[in-house]
């Protein structure tokens, strides 16, 4: 049976081999183990032995060709084997070889990570200076990977040198010593010893935003600094910790220590590391007090002026990655504490609020706990309490509660009034531009909706069903408006839509639960 001769993998790193020389001709008899072909790899020339007895039926990869490993380069057939049987093997091998080339081209097209955003190159034509070409050849570099910075995008010697430097560049080493060493040690200790679970919960920040605005307005009038969300969170967390003491604790191999005082660690990112100064007695502090304290320790953390006791005695830590756009994450507990709370970024999201889609600022809290000390349920309860406090913070800070609603336009964003206006406005425009058409339309509409055997209301209800069925947004708003004006109740409008749903199924349903619903709401209120 005909067998494919494959480009052998001759070394650990070998990806491709080049045919240096076929030692047998097509049609020549070969014995298994006999030298068949010379292959050049990056390093050396190897002789490949014939993998089978028979006749070298077909050489697929000629001298000089680069072929990826395990791709057919020839076919050996049994002597006297029927050509009909060999041909499919040859064709298959051929296809595999061609396929590998296509793969190869794709690989070549793939660009490495670039420092600057550059337009994607659409062709493979490269301009390269002779000097650069020679260097590239010497260094055996594929110039397709090099970006030319010379005139007209020409690859210059400097470009090749930079690329070579990049290739040869040793990774930068930062030894685990000093702060990095401490971080490494403590983080791995935490990871090794704690049984970490992270619970995430999204919090609505609408009220907190409002509260912060109110507070800051007031503080500004008083000449105080503004407060940050971290400050507000610190107060809220301190309060919640007092309510859930198990969270305000430390774990060691043989015991859990629960503390009365909330000593709140605030993770501060430095240029070359991370430090967690502790705000002692946080539960006793007013908002302004805690805000000043956090600012102070953060500043001194950055300038390296913290006292050693300010780095000790923490019972719970807050870490904030929100300023970098992170939403949820899985913070590592700052040992020997029991828990750490990760603060994410505030993201505007559509939220269903009492059946209405609203635009709401949301933030994800990520609470990591040491399951050795705290179980999931109490932790979740604590987190829930934090959320509750954050979503209804006004009483805690003795501020007046607002009633905030930020509805998204319903019906896929379409406002019923707007639709009405557009339609009516359009008719008015048409009356001027093409009065005959407008008059014609109106003389059609007026009798159709006039009181007769059927009341106007009934006719409008029929029109609603039709409008929903044909999925015309303008018609829906117009006729719901008219039906309600003609005395229709919300139920009646919905029933009319129901008829449309019976005929139109899903799409009619979609319009009913969105635009029809919004129209009822909008026009009933009018």
């Amino acid at each position: 049976m005909a067998v494919k001769v494959l480009m052998p993998k001759l070394g650990l790193t070998m990806k491709k081999g080049k045919i240096a020389k076929w030692l047998k001709k097509e049609g020549e008899e070969v014995t298994k183990g006999e030298d068949l072909v010379e292959i050049i790899t990056e390093k050396i020339t190897n002789v490949m032995e014939a993998p089978a007895n028979g006749i070298l039926y077909k050489i697929l990869a000629e001298k000089g060709k680069n072929v990826p490993i395990i791709v057919p380069i020839a076919v050996i057939a049994d002597s006297g084997e029927d050509e009909k049987e060999i041909q499919p093997v040859v064709e298959e091998a051929q296809a595999e070889l061609v396929g590998s080339e296509v793969e190869e081209t794709k690989k070549v097209d793939k660009q490495p990570v670039q420092k600057e955003v550059q337009p994607v190159r659409l062709d493979n034509e490269r301009k390269i200076s002779p000097r650069a070409a020679r260097l590239a050849e010497e260094k055996e570099i594929d110039i397709d990977y090099i970006d030319g910075t010379g005139p007209n995008g020409r690859v210059t010697e400097k470009d090749v040198k930079n690329y070579v430097e990049e290739l040869e560049k040793q990774p930068e080493e930062i030894p685990f010593e000093g702060m990095r060493g401490i971080i490494a040690e403590r983080m791995s200790e935490s990871s090794r010893n704690s049984a970490r679970v992270t619970i995430m919960q999204e919090v609505d920040f609408t009220n907190l935003q409002d509260l912060r605005e109110q507070l800051n307005n007031t503080f500004q009038e008083q000449g105080n600094d503004k407060v940050s969300y971290t400050d507000l969170l610190a107060v809220v967390v301190a309060k919640a910790l007092k309510e859930h003491p198990i969270m305000n604790s430390r774990v060691s191999a043989d015991k859990i220590e629960i503390f009365d005082s909330v000593n709140l660690g605030i993770a501060v990112a430095l240029d070359d590391g991370l430090i967690v100064p502790v705000v002692h007695q946080a539960h006793r502090m007013s908002l302004i007090h805690i805000s000043e304290k956090i600012k102070s320790v953060a500043e001194r953390a950055r300038s390296g002026e913290l006292d050693s006791e300010e780095l000790q005695g923490g019972t719970f830590t807050i870490t904030n990655l929100g300023m970098f756009g992170a939403e949820g994450f899985t913070p590592i507990i700052n040992p020997p504490e029991t828990a750490i709370l990760g603060i994410g970024t505030i993201v505007e999201k559509p939220v269903l609020k009492e059946g209405t889609l609203e635009r709401r600022p949301r933030m994800t809290l990520s609470l990591s706990i040491d399951h050795r000390a705290v179980d999931g349920a109490p932790a979740a309860r604590f987190l829930s309490r934090v959320r509750e406090l954050l979503e209804n913070p006004h009483p805690l800070f003795r501020m007046e509660e607002p009633n905030i609603s930020r509805p998204l336009a319903a019906g896929g964003g379409k406002d019923p009034h707007k639709l009405m206006q557009d339609f009516v406005g359009g008719i008015e425009w048409l009356s001027e531009e093409a009065p005959d058409m407008a008059v014609g339309f109106n003389s059609l509409m007026a009798p159709a909706f006039a009181e007769g055997e059927l009341s106007t209301k009934d006719k409008e209800l029929i029109a609603i069903a039709l409008s929903v069925y044909i999925k015309c947004e303008y018609c829906i708003s117009h006729h719901v408006h008219n039906a309600i004006a003609a005395g229709a109740e919300a139920d009646e409008v919905l029933e009319a839509s129901g008829v449309a749903i019976a005929f139109g199924g899903g799409p009619a349903m979609a319009y009913t639960v969105t635009l029809v619903k919004e129209c009822i709401k909008a026009f009933s209120a009018d």
């Binding site: 200076s129 002779p130 000097r131 650069a132 020679r134 005139p151 020409r154 210059t156 010697e157 400097k158």
Partner: protein, 323 residues
């Protein structure tokens, strides 16, 4: 070292060689009592007398033809062709007689003569008194072509030219006669065929001749302010050409601009560029740029002449287009 002008340097070289070698004599139009059209041969008549400082009629063919004959007969003439443009009048004597005698006669003749001639625009002398025709000469086997850019080079190279047993065309850019520079005192010579690096740099090589060396040096200052360091190479001799120095410089910088005042098309710059492509292709990190005058006769009006002449800005622009 004393500062003297380009003109004085040439004058001094002539005097020194005439004092040293009684076979050296000069001839040409108005070289005697008039002291040369530009004053280069001032004082020679007084010192050496009319037997060795010969005023000729306006007769370029006879000046060069007779010089060839006298050189073949053992003297060492230094004829002057007042303007290089006039070489056309006596070209046969230059390129069929002087250049070829040695070879045609199987090496049995030598023609030790140095034709001094003034090239260059900038004087409003228009189309027939301003040309730089060095490429014509450099194209003829048997001739040597010298084109200095500084007083020191002019003196040392003229001395070597006069002592050389081959016919040499020594081209003096007329706008450089007044340029001053330090010149070593006493006898010294600079070998023909040795280029000089007038300024070192790493970013691009600018090969410039004669007046353009000064333009290139000015451009180098401008470019240096932007952090581009050009290497200014003055070949000094176009035949023989110091290929090695040029190639070494291009090997170092990877970029080459060649500039001369002569018309770009068919100029020596093309030869230098081609040589570098042939022998130093792999050194090149950018295409070679040639700068030369446009393909037009030299105009008269000052503004046109200024527009005609290649200059510092051209060099700056060319270099910037390469780096």
């Amino acid at each position: 070292m004393p500062e003297i002008t380009f003109l004085e340097a040439i004058n001094s070289a002539l005097k020194e060689e005439m004092r040293k070698d009684p076979n050296v004599f000069i001839l040409g139009e108005d070289v005697g009592i008039f002291g040369g059209c530009f004053g280069v041969t001032q004082g020679l008549l007084d010192e050496f007398g009319p037997e060795r400082v010969l005023d000729t009629p306006i007769t370029e063919t006879a000046i060069i033809g007779a010089s060839v004959g006298a050189a073949a007969a053992g003297l060492r003439p230094v004829p002057e062709i007042m303007f290089m443009d006039f070489l056309g009048v006596c070209l046969d004597e230059v390129f069929n007689q002087a250049a070829k005698m040695r070879y045609m006669f199987g090496g049995k003749a030598k023609i030790p003569m140095t034709i001094r001639t003034a090239c260059g625009a900038g004087l409003g002398a228009a189309a027939q008194h301003s040309q730089s025709l060095e490429a014509w000469i450099a194209h003829i086997p048997g001739l040597k072509v010298v084109m200095p850019s500084t007083p020191a080079d002019a003196k040392g190279l003229l001395i070597s030219s006069i002592r050389d047993d081959n016919p040499v065309v020594f081209i003096e850019h007329k706008m450089m006669y007044g340029i001053s520079g330090s010149v070593p005192e006493g006898e010294y010579s600079i070998p023909l065929g040795k280029a000089d690096i007038k300024r070192e740099g790493k970013d691009a090589t600018v090969v410039a001749t004669a007046m353009m060396v000064h333009k290139a040096l000015a451009a180098a200052e401008t470019l240096a302010e932007e952090g581009i360091e050009i290497e200014v190479v003055d070949p000094r001799c176009l035949q023989p050409l110091d290929k090695e120095t040029i190639l070494h410089s291009v090997e170092k910088t990877g970029r080459l601009v060649v500039i001369h005042e002569a018309v770009k098309i068919g100029g020596v710059g093309g030869e230098i560029a081609a040589m570098v492509v042939e022998e130093g292709f792999d050194y090149l990190d950018a295409p070679i740029k040639r700068i030369g005058a446009p393909f037009t006769p030299i105009p008269f009006a000052s503004n046109l002449e200024n527009a005609y002449l290649p200059g510092e800005e051209d060099i700056v622009a060319a270099v910037k287009s390469l780096v």
